[in-house]
Amino acid sequence: MAKSTEVILKVRDLKKKYGEKWAVKGISFDVYRGEVFGILGPNGAGKTTTLEMIETLREIDGGTAILDGVNVAEKPWDIRYLIGVQPQSPSFQDKTKLTELLQLFAAAYGAKAQTHKLLEEVNLLDKANSYVESLSGGQKQRFSIAAALVHNPKVFFLDEPTTGLDPQARRNLWELVQQVRDKGVTVIITTHYMDEAEVLCDRVAVMDKGKIVALDTPKNLIKNLLDKGFKKEQKVEQANLEDVFIDLTGKALRD
């Protein structure tokens, strides 16, 4: 997929303060239309807060964020139509069928949902009439993606989507994210799994203590490190334990 250089999200000097502490200390970055942009960092680095400010869930204490030409702080209600949000641990009201939940979400945008098409895309068509509480963790994540896309958003935010999933479910989710990207949706994802960032992201920003400490493609970041003369102590194996695990247990989804 050819990446455009058209900026869909422009963040300048974005800041957030909790009490006396600055959680996000003035960060700037651009996200291009149609790419998968990763925000990496340890816990408490400010990844989620950054996302929540752009998602209009938290007030912006300083700086600006412009999404598809719309200023987030000035027109939060317009922003909501442009974005789809997958929160850290998705949960939905119980005793409601998957199709009904999709109808609810679509209705929130004043739209009608093509429930079966959406469920088919995330491989949950056979669960259409099940309640959400009967889904496994991986299924819930997949359903959550469908729910976030009911209104055809331009930008899709995922906050640590694979935390707590088994390797099969993780890989399946990566595929889904790539499918969403292939439809032309820009994806912004936070994670603290480096392998995930390496597989999925076209470019990544590394955050630490409320600041961006590096921003580039995963390849370039690795190259820069090697150029500095960095060497791993051990010789890199051609496979790792996860490859063994997948080889032994197969790629098929377990849910």
Partner: protein, 368 residues
């Protein structure tokens, strides 16, 4: 605007459907008030006539006294406790309040003294705590004896008194109780429902997820209000059906006006639940506040006992609680047959509360 209302309708449809899948919620909104209805219906149900629970000790073996005993046992005015055969049991039962008084027919009661007609003197025994029942019983017996006396001895009675019952049916205790019970059901549905549900929705981040969509608070409130009104009207339909068939509740008012007023009441009280549940971050914040708000209404608005039994100052004060005009209004429409135009003060007071409650609810609502 049309689109925004469509959003509300979809939420109403799906969430109402969801409510009927929730057995626990169904129990608390439908079965719970029904249980209360049977309890209070049994306590305050319409009793056909006043009846005395009496012990009857017959020490005479005359034919007359035998007849008298069997008449008493058939009587609707008296309920004869057959376990009482001697004075000792009678005394214990009276002390416990199980019977109101004891009638003793002494030896020789009903014998024909001079071969003309039977005569005798019955004795009524009662305890201090039953003085009123005892003296009323004496009067009732006296009246019965006088009627009997007339059969044997003819005497002129210059002054007599007759009574006549007016056809108009006054309000019974049950009419008050039933309106109060509907009030109780409104509180359960409108306050305890959201107060339990909202903190849970927040804890799981469900409201937060909705917050990322363009859904407005007023749309969320409105859809909740409509769906609760539907559930509430159905519940109350069941309560009315049972009250009418089992407890002979006589509804004279217009059903449509009643339904409109009930829906208005439900939505107003729901505002309290939305305010508390919408404000609270978790159950620990919600529960105590809900209790503080609910208890005064539960005891002072006429839910469990009618307000007319309260001291006057308390009646004046409790008249302004939000639930009071709702309960009064329900009773006025249902059992007094008043129209909406005739209960202006009640509707006005509910409307004022509606504005206050929802102004607060919108202000304090938090999505997480």
């Amino acid at each position: 605007m049309k689109k925004k209302m469509m959003t509300v309708l979809v939420f109403v449809k799906i969430n109402t459907r969801r409510f009927f899948r929730d057995r626990l919620a169904l129990f608390f909104t439908v079965i719970f008030p029904l249980i209360f209805l049977f309890i209070f219906g049994g306590l305050f149900g319409k009793q056909p006539t006043v009846s005395f629970k009496v012990g009857l000790i017959n020490q005479s073996d005359s034919a007359f006294s035998q007849q008298f005993v069997s008449d008493m046992q058939k009587s609707k005015t008296f309920k004869v406790d057959n376990e009482v055969t001697d004075l000792a049991t009678a005394q214990t039962k009276m002390n416990r309040g199980e019977i109101d008084a004891t009638i003793i027919l002494p030896t020789g009661f009903g014998d024909s003294k001079n071969g003309q007609y039977p005569s005798g003197q019955a004795q009524v025994i009662y305890t201090q705590n039953n003085e009123q029942a005892g003296s009323t019983l004496v009067q009732v017996l006296n009246a019965q004896f006088q009627a009997m006396n007339k059969q044997y001895v003819h005497a002129d009675t210059p002054f007599t008194v007759t009574s006549k019952q007016l056809n108009e049916q006054g309000l019974t205790r049950f009419d008050y109780t039933f309106a109060g019970l509907l009030g109780f059901s409104i509180i359960g549905l409108g306050i305890f429902g959201p107060v339990n549900v909202f903190p849970e929705l927040k804890k799981q981040g469900i409201l937060r997820r909705l917050h990322t969509t363009p859904l407005r608070v007023w749309q969320y409130f409105m859809s909740t209000a409509f769906s609760q009104a539907i559930v509430g009207l159905l519940t109350m339909g069941v309560l009315f059906a049972v009250a009418i068939t089992v407890f002979h509740l006589h509804v004279v008012g217009n059903w449509l006006e009643l339904a409109l007023f009930l829906a208005f009441g439900i939505i107003t009280i729901l505002g309290i639940g939305l305010a508390i549940g919408g404000w609270a971050k978790n159950e620990r914040q919600a529960a105590p506040l809900a209790n503080i708000v609910v208890f005064p209404m539960l005891f002072l608005s006429g839910t469990f006992f009618p307000r007319y039994v309260m001291p006057e100052w308390l009646q004046k004060l409790s008249a302004f609680l939000p639930l009071t005009p709702i309960i009064d209004g329900i009773r006025m429409i249902a059992t007094e047959g008043k129209h909406l135009t005739q209960i202006g003060p009640q509707i006005g007071l509910v409307a004022i509360w509606f504005v206050i409650i929802y102004a607060i609810a919108f202000r304090v609502f938090r999505w997480e």
